[in-house]
């Protein structure tokens, strides 16, 4: 049973990694094509601060700092919600980060499609909202996976990939270590391939559907959340229904035997 649970959590992490990385890829490419700036490239933004500071463009330094702060705030919100789950368990709190992300993505796609008049204020605020959503997503996946899954952090993932390939194929002899390395390698590979998959979808869709591409990302996330997230509730419900019918059957049989 313990082994089954362990395997289940590994598979959950892999699913989370792939789905969230795909969403990050779609959002990142869409924001680049629509707003000319990435929505989850925090490493790049830290470099940008230095670049803008050396050119003494203090207003742009502030904008980039604000974007990083919004990503940070998003991650902090997720961590706080995950922490709250210890005291108050409910379906809404469990999925509050997903609700926030999906609402922002839908909100931005509707605003972008109908009300966006391409001013720099709107561009920077929409980017801020998307960075906040990506912060929430990254914080959520990191919190629920004990800091194992970080779906927008591809610099770290690429480094992990290099180390893990070396350990897997060249110098890991311990069987337990090999199993860990294999699982971790699969997780990192799924994160990277999910991101590339999402980015390809985002880059293709954005040419035809504009801001609606973000709604596609929201629907994608919603669909897989319902599929993976609600499946335990579905299984429990099926079990209850099944056990109830079985009880009724046993009850009916016992009545029949009494009649005999």
């Amino acid at each position: 049973m313990k082994k089954f649970k362990k395997n289940q959590s590994v598979q959950n992490y892999q699913s989370i990694a792939f789905v969230f990385a795909s969403v990050a890829g779609i959002v990142n490419l869409s924001s680049f094509f629509l707003l000319y700036s990435f929505a989850s490239n925090i490493t790049g933004y830290f470099a940008m601060i230095a670049e803008e500071a050396t050119s003494k463009k203090w207003f742009q330094v502030f904008v980039v700092l604000a974007w990083i702060s919004l990503f940070f705030v998003g991650s902090a919100v997720s961590a706080t919600i995950t922490h709250l789950k210890q005291f108050h368990r409910s379906l809404i709190i469990n999925y509050l980060p997903i609700i926030i992300i999906v609402s922002i993505l839908f909100g931005v796609s509707i605003y972008g499609q109908f009300y966006y008049d391409e001013s720099i204020q709107e561009t920077e605020l929409i980017l801020g909202a998307l960075l906040f959503a990506m912060g929430v997503q990254n914080g959520f996946s990191a919190s629920i996976s004990n800091l194992v899954v970080k779906n927008t952090h591809l610099t770290g993932a690429t480094t992990d990939l290099a180390v893990l390939i070396g350990r897997r194929f060249f110098w890991e002899n311990n069987p337990e270590g090999t199993l860990f390395v294999k699982q971790r390698l699969k997780l990192v590979a799924l994160t990277i391939s999910g991101y590339v998959f999402g980015a390809t979808i985002g880059g293709t869709f954005v040419r035809y559907f504009g801001f609606w591409t973000l709604a596609v990302a929201a629907l994608f996330l919603l669909f897989f959340t319902l599929l993976f997230g609600l499946s335990p509730y579905f299984i429990r419900w099926k079990y209850r229904v099944f056990s109830r019918t079985r009880n009724v059957e046993i009850f009916r049989k016992s009545l029949e035997s009494l009649g005999d």
């Binding site: 707003l35 000319y36 050119s55 705030v73 902090a76 391409e118 720099i120 204020q121 920077e124 605020l125």
Partner: protein
């Protein structure tokens, strides 16, 4: 817990308000009259100098509508007017994108051109355009602000 919540709420609000206020500045700094000062081809596979060569300039920048105009007037209503030395005129819409570092021009036939603003101050506007006409490289366009004569 409450203090942490307050901290992230204040930080998030300040970031959004700050972005809104700061972006007003980017919009204003680019408006005005500008005059073409130089065109350079940089970061290229080949060494090409085009400052004084009108033919090469034409070939490298032929995909850009603005290459034929020397005077740029950037107006506050997101309209932009171009004029060449013979008085020929062209107008389009302009938008700042990214963190205020991308200038997007939308022409009446809906074609778009994007320029990366590398430097902007009271007198100079330096923009880069990626091109792959002759070889990979970047076109560096420098404009000089025209101050109104008193």
């Amino acid at each position: 817990m409450l203090r942490y919540f307050l901290f992230i709420a204040v930080l998030g609000t300040l970031s959004f308000v700050g972005i809104h206020q700061v972006s007003l500045h980017s919009n204003e700094s680019i408006q005005g009259d500008w005059e073409e000062l130089s065109w350079n081809y940089i970061k290229s596979d080949k060494k090409i100098r085009i400052e004084d060569d009108a033919v090469i300039k034409y070939e490298l920048a032929s995909h850009l509508v603005v290459h034929q105009f020397e005077h740029w007037r950037i107006l506050s209503n997101n309209r932009m007017e171009f004029k060449d030395s013979k008085g020929l005129k062209h107008s389009c819409s302009w938008y700042l994108k990214g963190r205020g570092n991308i200038l997007e021009l939308v022409h009446p036939n809906n074609t778009k051109e994007t320029y990366t603003i590398k430097n902007i101050n009271d007198s100079i506007l330096e923009m880069h355009v990626e091109t792959a006409v002759h070889a990979r490289g970047v076109l560096k366009i420098v404009l000089l602000r025209k101050h109104e004569e008193v």
